[in-house]
């Protein structure tokens, strides 16, 4: 097979990988906020539900969660699986899994802000919302950036798990190509793609980090 045909096929897989990556971030970054708020809520039932949810998400393999979500509609509700089911289940599993990880990072960030910051804001008359948006959140973002970076880089690589369920992302494509060509070259190319992708992610993260580097505390 010609090199550019192979590149074209891997490229198509790569587009799916990027889609999965972006949709997961788009869903899990905001969902994590709600999970974190629920986890920190003083309303105990909500707090326990969130603890349980986070514990399951972090304590079981993402691959298993994908399958569970893929088969749940059929076994629980008797809904027939369609060709879209695999993609949908993958997206849902990735979003709710990553939301749990992000929630814990958010929580650690929020809880690391010294009480004095809240007290100073309180005495100056800031409302709860103002205190969070103007004083707490910007400091939290700076503090959690390294941990978020780790998690986002892991997500780039985790997208390859979708091959297990039969989503045609880059890793599945590489596997199929390697089988047909009977050599490892497609894997090498795929590895290169992941690495380059993560280099871009790192450049973006470094840029944000640098932007927030104007102060330390």
């Amino acid at each position: 097979m010609a090199f550019d045909t192979m590149m074209g096929m891997l490229g198509n897989g790569f587009v799916v990988t990027i889609e999965l990556f972006l949709i997961t971030l788009l869903g899990s970054l905001p969902l994590g906020v709600f999970v974190a708020l629920g986890r920190m809520s003083s309303f105990l039932p909500l707090q326990w539900i969130m603890r349980f949810y986070i514990s399951i998400m972090r304590g079981t393999p993402l691959m298993l969660q994908m399958f569970a979500i893929y088969f749940a509609p059929y076994y629980v509700f008797g809904i027939d699986l369609t060709p879209d089911s695999k993609w949908n289940a993958t997206i849902v599993a990735f979003i709710i899994n990553y939301a749990a990880y992000f929630a814990e990072i958010y929580r650690s960030g929020i809880q690391s802000i010294p009480r004095g910051q809240y007290e100073a804001a309180d005495v100056l008359g800031y409302s709860k919302t103002q205190t969070f948006m103007k004083i707490v959140l910007p400091q939290v973002i700076k503090r959690i950036l390294p941990a978020m970076g780790n998690e986002i880089i892991t997500l780039v690589k985790d997208t390859s798990l979708a091959f297990a369920i039969g989503v045609a992302e880059m890793f599945s494509t590489a596997k199929a190509l390697a089988a047909r060509e009977a050599n490892m070259f497609p894997y090498l190319l795929a590895g290169l793609f992941y690495w380059l992708f993560n280099m871009v992610v790192e450049v973006v993260l470094n840029r944000v980090e640098k932007k927030l580097d104007y102060y330390h505390d």
Binding site: G116, Q117, A120, G125, K134, Y215, D217
Partner: protein, 257 residues
């Protein structure tokens, strides 16, 4: 203010406990316009708790609190009942608090630390607020530092920024909780100089401090708080030089170098 003797803040018969630990037992304190009151006393005596109650960071169990004619907490059958959210918000406009460890906002510049609350809480005009902030900075000996962030300043400079931040809200009364305890002697002096000049311009202040000489020189009145009650109270030089209570004498002896 026409009636210059009407207190700016009146705290009456305040009780406060944390669990079974009674921290304030019937403390009363009122401060008139232009008065400077120093609160002294041993560690754990309840000085910070008193300020935290006065600044609404904590709520006391019983007693009353009023800022001028604004009743913030009233007594109902031995229980303190606090006013509505609106009353609390109004009360917060009347006082400022300077913390021991400054609590500046690290991500804001010096200028923004001072101007943000007047602009976004008091909804005042930005130009007017910034002009006032610059005046305050020069009064604090900090001109030229507007664009710096707190971590670029010394502790003494940060504390002076935090004083400017409190003053820019135009409070009636300014509370200080050990404003120099985190500073070495040299930096302590520059902060004390600023507070002294505020006293000279008749800013109403309540200052919790361990600086006895400073308290004697700057305060009009000294309150000695020990074990959650006011043991002795009177004109500054009388309390320092001729205390009437044994406990005050013992406390002061420990501070004589």
């Amino acid at each position: 203010m026409t009636d210059s003797n009407k207190p700016l803040v009146t705290i009456e018969n305040v009780y406060k406990s944390y669990g079974s630990n009674q921290v304030l037992h019937g403390v009363s304190l009122s401060v008139s316009p232009g008065e400077v009151v120093a609160v002294i006393g041993p560690s754990g005596g309840g000085k910070s708790t008193l300020l935290r109650c006065a600044t609404l960071l904590e709520r006391f169990d019983s007693g009353t609190l009023a800022y001028g004619d604004l009743d913030v907490a009233v007594d109902r059958d031995g229980t303190a009942v606090y006013g509505s959210k609106d009353v609390i918000a109004q009360a917060k406009l009347r006082f400022g608090l300077v913390f021991q460890n400054y609590n500046l906002f690290p991500h804001y510049t010096v200028l923004k630390n001072i101007t943000d609350a007047p602009i976004s809480v008091q909804k005042r005009n930005r130009d007017e607020v910034e002009q006032q902030a610059r005046q305050l900075l020069s009064r604090m000996g900090l001109e030229g530092n507007e664009g710096k962030v707190p971590c670029e300043l010394s502790g003494g400079q940060q504390q002076r920024v935090s004083i400017a931040r409190a003053l820019c809200m135009n409070p009636d009364i300014l509370y200080f909780d050990e404003p120099t305890s985190a500073l070495d002697p040299e930096l302590t002096q520059e902060v004390l100089r600023v507070i002294r000049s505020l006293a000279e311009s008749h800013m109403t202040m309540v200052i919790v401090t361990h600086e006895m000489t400073f308290a004697r020189d700057v305060a009009d009145r000294i309150v000695f708080l020990d074990g959650g009650s006011i043991v002795e109270e009177g004109p500054a030089d009388q309390v320092i030089n001729n205390p009437t209570q044994q406990r005050t004498r013992e406390f002061l002896l420990r501070y004589e170098g």
